[in-house]
């Protein structure tokens, strides 16, 4: 049983609350029915349920939202979005929370933030993701020698099949750099 959401002591972090506005807007019509929580394949692994997360969002409780790992455990299967009786774009709201966490570089989500950022960096440089470069960038950014070891067996199997090859990160042609910069510029303005 989850505790009732405390609406009185919510920390008024204004800049974070402003960043949460697009996600909040997606969930305004939430009736707290819990269909999303009941449909989520990862609910068991989450510290609070999606339903509870939406209540935190609607009460502007940014502090509590970014103590949970719930949105980082969304695997974008869209089952909740499909089943939501209010037709809310729940999966998109999960992604918006991931984006806020990434822009704030919050340590709790370091693993997924670095993973996504490393992927995007390889895409920015070459236009297409180079799987081994992306993983190398990810390992370098995590500065934790245990993580690469966990991926080594799979990497070796893929190399044996000649599906991937060892790749030293390179600058590439900066193929999509102009688009990346433009997107950042527009997002920083809004």
């Amino acid at each position: 049983m989850e505790p009732a959401v405390d609406t009185q002591t919510a920390a008024p972090d204004r800049s974070l609350i402003k960043k949460l506005a697009p996600a909040r807007k997606q969930l305004l019509a939430c009736i707290q029915c819990g269909t999303c929580s009941g449909s989520c394949p990862n609910a068991d692994a989450m510290d609070v349920s999606p339903r509870y997360l939406w209540r935190l969002l609607l009460t502007d409780n940014a502090e509590e939202i970014f103590k949970t790992r719930t949105f980082a455990l969304c695997s974008t299967c869209y089952t909740c979005t499909l089943r939501c009786p209010r037709g809310l774009q729940i999966t998109d709201a999960m992604s918006l929370l991931k984006q806020v966490a990434a822009s704030e570089n919050l340590p709790l989500y370091k693993r997924s933030i670095r993973f996504y950022q490393s992927f995007m960096e390889s895409v920015r440089r070459h236009g297409r993701v180079r799987e081994m470069e992306f993983m190398t960038l990810y390992f370098m950014s995590m500065k934790n020698p245990v993580i690469p070891l966990k991926f080594t067996p799979l990497g070796m199997r893929l190399m044996a099949k000649r599906k991937v090859s060892v790749e030293i990160p390179s600058k590439g042609t900066q193929k999509l750099d102009a688009m990346f910069r433009k997107a950042r510029e527009i997002e920083e303005q809004s």
Binding site: A45, S75, V164
Partner: protein
């Protein structure tokens, strides 16, 4: 019939056998696939994790490239994640003009413009809705009789856009499995999530989803998929899932064009089963015994 072909990054690397078998299958069916000029990454699930605008602009770049090749055309996409990203743009700009304007501001940096005239099609959608089942049947030279095949659709070709199948109880692959002579393994997990990138970012959660699917398919000779992410998760982590659940999962995870290719008598070079990570000896033996010319 002609389609613009968007392979996507995985099909150049870890899912190369999906691309090879797809091209061979469509060639056999007499359908032309023209690779999209200068295509780039769709953003996968990574773009969405860091930038809302890029998660639209990256796939949009490919739609704009396709429009440049042919104003009105269908893009055939085998990867479900790529498919959804492209589809999201196609659907999103229909009633959101400010989104289209923002996308075009970004695309301008690459001298491109998106109008929204091309249509994104999943490989499975094309196979079941554009190709006549009789045309596929006429190419079958070896019946896969005796094989029980579990159809696995995953998430993103089904949801959130229910374009060509029931998004919770999908059945579109069944006619293709039976036309190959195999039987459909009865299970209700065809549309369940494989964990996607959680296998890397939160493996303790991801492995449970993988294990549930492998458990559900116990008794099938193979699982057939249409998504490189699903294929990799189900194929690469069988040992890990077995260890955690004190059992022994060993089941080949084939791409749909590989399965059809086997029944159509395509060559090893066109199917590339040797590139799959898990093809047990018992499966190969059964294939050798079954694959007598019909």
């Amino acid at each position: 019939m002609t389609y613009i072909y968007y392979p996507g990054c995985s099909l150049e690397g870890t899912a190369a056998e999906y691309s090879i078998s797809t091209m061979a299958l469509f060639e056999t069916l007499g359908i032309e696939l023209i690779e999209l000029d200068d295509w780039t990454c769709c953003g996968a699930t990574a773009a969405e994790g860091v930038s809302h605008l890029l998660s639209f602009a990256l796939p949009a770049r490919n739609l704009a490239m396709a429009e440049k090749m042919k104003a009105k055309s269908d893009i055939l996409v085998p990867c479900s994640a790529c498919y959804l990203n492209l589809k999201r743009v196609e659907q999103g700009i229909k009633d959101d003009h400010s989104l289209l304007r923002k996308i075009n501001q970004v695309l301008e940096a690459d001298d491109l413009v998106l109008k929204g005239t091309v249509r994104t099609r999943h490989l499975l959608d094309v196979l079941v809705n554009d190709v006549a089942l009789d045309d596929i049947a006429s190419k079958i030279v070896r019946s896969l009789e005796g094989f029980s095949i579990a159809p696995y659709y995953g998430c993103q070709c089904l949801r959130p856009y229910a374009v060509f199948d029931d998004p919770e109880a999908p059945r579109s692959m069944e006619s293709l499995i039976t036309v190959a002579g195999a039987s459909v393994y009865p299970w209700d997990m065809g549309g369940r999530c494989c964990g996607a990138s959680l296998m890397s970012t939160a493996p303790e959660a991801g492995i449970e989803l993988v294990a549930a699917l492998l458990e559900g398919a116990q008794g099938a000779d193979a699982i057939v998929t249409v998504c490189p992410m699903c294929q990799m998760n189900l194929e690469a982590y069988q040992k890990k899932a077995s260890k955690q659940h004190h059992t022994h999962y060993e089941v080949p995870i084939l791409y749909l064009p590989q399965l059809l290719g086997l029944a159509m008598g395509l060559t090893d070079d066109q199917i590339r089963l040797d590139m799959n990570l898990c093809v047990p000896g018992s499966f190969r033996e059964k294939l050798a015994n079954t694959l007598q010319p019909a």
